[in-house]
C-alpha cells in the first residue's frame, strides 16, 4: 500500500527546530525521515537545516544525525555507510539532506564521486533556489530572472541572468540506479519516491523543490500552494530516472499561468512582460524535450 498521511510513521524525527515559519526545506526533511524510519543516519552539511537543527544543547533530530562540511555531504555519507558495513551493521539507511548550493555548487564534486562509486546512500537535495541560510544569494539552481541579494534587480540588470542548472539530468547522466524530482506541493509523490529509493541498492538521488517564504517573498502559509503551482505551470516537473530511462510522472494537460506563479513572489516582481515571455519560451522548449525523451 502506498504511503499517505494515514499510513505514515507517526514518529517525528525532526522537531523543535528553528527554521523560519512555513519552511519548505524542513518539511522535506521531516517527511523523508518519517518514511525512512528510525534506523536512519542523516548527514546535513552547513546550511539552513543544520543551522536550525543542531544548536547545542537544542538537538532536533531523534535519529542519528551529523553535520558535514559544506562540500562534504556525499563523502561523509560514504564514510558512514562504509563504516557501518565494516562493523556488520546492515539494517540502516544513510541519507543526506543538502540545499541547492550545497548540492549543485560546492558539493557537486563529492556527489559525483559517490554516484561514480555507486555507494549505497540516498542523497536528497532540498532546492529553495538560492543560498538562503546566508541571506538569499544566487546559486546555480536560482532560476532565470530571480532577484537575490547578489543578483539585484535594478535598471541595468533584472536579477539572475542564467537559467537553473539541470541537476537532475546531470545526476542521471552518471547512470545512477535511481534519481527523481519532487516538490513539497506533491508530498504523496515524494513519499512514494523515498519508499522506492529505500528498496534500491546503490546511489539514489531525489531533488525536491522546497519553497522558502523568506527568500521567495511569499506568505508563510503559501509554501505548499506555490510548490504545487510551480509544477502545474510547468516550471518544474515530477519525473524519475531508472534503468537508464526517464519517466514523467505528471503531465499537466494544460499549464496554469506562469505569470500568476511569478507575480505572487516578490523575487520576480521586477520582471517585464518580455522576461516572462522568455521564461515561457524556455518552459515550452523544455517540455518539448521532455515529451521527446521521457516515457
Amino acid at each position: 500500500m502506498a504511503i499517505n498521511a494515514q499510513t505514515l510513521n507517526e514518529t517525528e524525527f525532526f522537531y523543535g527546530h528553528k527554521a523560519c515559519a512555513g519552511c519548505g526545506g524542513s518539511l522535506a526533511v521531516r517527511i523523508a525521515l518519517k518514511v525512512l524510519g528510525e534506523n536512519t543516519f542523516a548527514v546535513l552539511p552547513a546550511g539552513c537545516m543544520s543551522a536550525v537543527g543542531f544548536n547545542f544543547p537544542q538537538l532536533c533530530f531523534s535519529n542519528n544525525a551529523i553535520i558535514s562540511t559544506f562540500a562534504g555531504t556525499a563523502s561523509m555519507l560514504t564514510g558512514i555507510e562504509a563504516g557501518l558495513r565494516a562493523q556488520g551493521v546492515t539494517d540502516f539507511h544513510a541519507v543526506g539532506f543538502a540545499g541547492d548550493g550545497g548540492t549543485a555548487d560546492i558539493g557537486l564534486q563529492a556527489l559525483s564521486g559517490a554516484i561514480d562509486r555507486n555507494d549505497d546512500i540516498l542523497y536528497i537535495c532540498y532546492d529553495n533556489e538560492a543560498y538562503m541560510n546566508t541571506g538569499i544569494q544566487k546559486s546555480s539552481l536560482t532560476p532565470f530572472g530571480a532577484r537575490t541579494t547578489t543578483t539585484p534587480a535594478g535598471k541595468n540588470i533584472r536579477g539572475n541572468l542564467r537559467p537553473k542548472k539541470n541537476l537532475f539530468e546531470i545526476v542521471a547522466a552518471h547512470g545512477i540506479p535511481y534519481a527523481a524530482t519532487a516538490s513539497v506541493g506533491y508530498l504523496n509523490d515524494f513519499m512514494r519516491k523515498i519508499e522506492k529509493a529505500k528498496q534500491i541498492k546503490g546511489t539514489k538521488y531525489i531533488h525536491i523543490l522546497a519553497p522558502c517564504p523568506t527568500g521567495w517573498g511569499i506568505q508563510t502559509d503559501e509554501t505548499i500552494d506555490v510548490a504545487k503551482e510551480v509544477v502545474d505551470c510547468g516550471l518544474w516537473y515530477l519525473a524519475e530516472y531508472e534503468n537508464g530511462s526517464f519517466i514523467l510522472n505528471h503531465d499537466p494537460k494544460e499549464f496554469t499561468s506562469i505569470e500568476k506563479y511569478l507575480r505572487k513572489q516578490s523575487r520576480f516582481k521586477h520582471l517585464t512582460d518580455k522576461d516572462i515571455q522568455t521564461i515561457q519560451n524556455s518552459r515550452d522548449a523544455k517540455w518539448e524535450y521532455i515529451h521527446r525523451n521521457f516515457k
Binding site: A5, A21, L27, Q58
Partner: protein, 96 residues
C-alpha cells in the same frame, strides 16, 4: 516518539560533553514565542484527513481522539494547516 523538552540544560564544564556528540533529540527551548497567530482546530468539522498533519513543516500536529491537535510549544503559526484543511476546521486566531 519525538524529540522532547528536557528539564536539564547542560551548561557547566562537567555537563558539557568532551566531544561534539550528545543524545539525539534533546530540546531545551520552545518555539511558541515566534507565533503571532495560532491555529484552532474545530473538532466538530475535522474529518481527520490529516492533510494538516502531513504538510506541517514543524510536525506539531498530531492525532488525538480520532481528530487532530496542535503542540503549541512548538507551533510557529505559519498557517499552512489552515490552508491545507479542506473542511474549514482550522482557523487562525491572534495571540494575545
Amino acid at each position: 516518539m519525538k524529540p522532547f523538552l528536557r528539564e536539564k540544560v547542560p551548561t557547566s564544564f562537567d555537563e558539557i560533553p568532551d566531544t561534539t556528540s550528545y543524545e539525539a533529540g534533546y530540546l531545551v527551548t520552545k518555539n511558541a514565542g515566534w507565533r503571532s497567530v495560532r491555529p484552532i482546530v474545530d473538532t466538530e468539522k475535522c474529518i481527520s484527513c490529516l492533510r494538516c498533519y502531513l504538510h506541517c513543516p514543524d510536525g506539531v500536529i498530531f492525532r488525538q481522539d480520532g481528530k487532530v491537535a496542535v503542540d503549541y510549544d512548538f507551533c510557529k503559526g505559519c498557517g499552512i494547516c489552515k490552508k491545507m484543511c479542506k473542511s474549514g476546521a482550522i482557523r487562525m486566531e491572534a495571540e494575545k
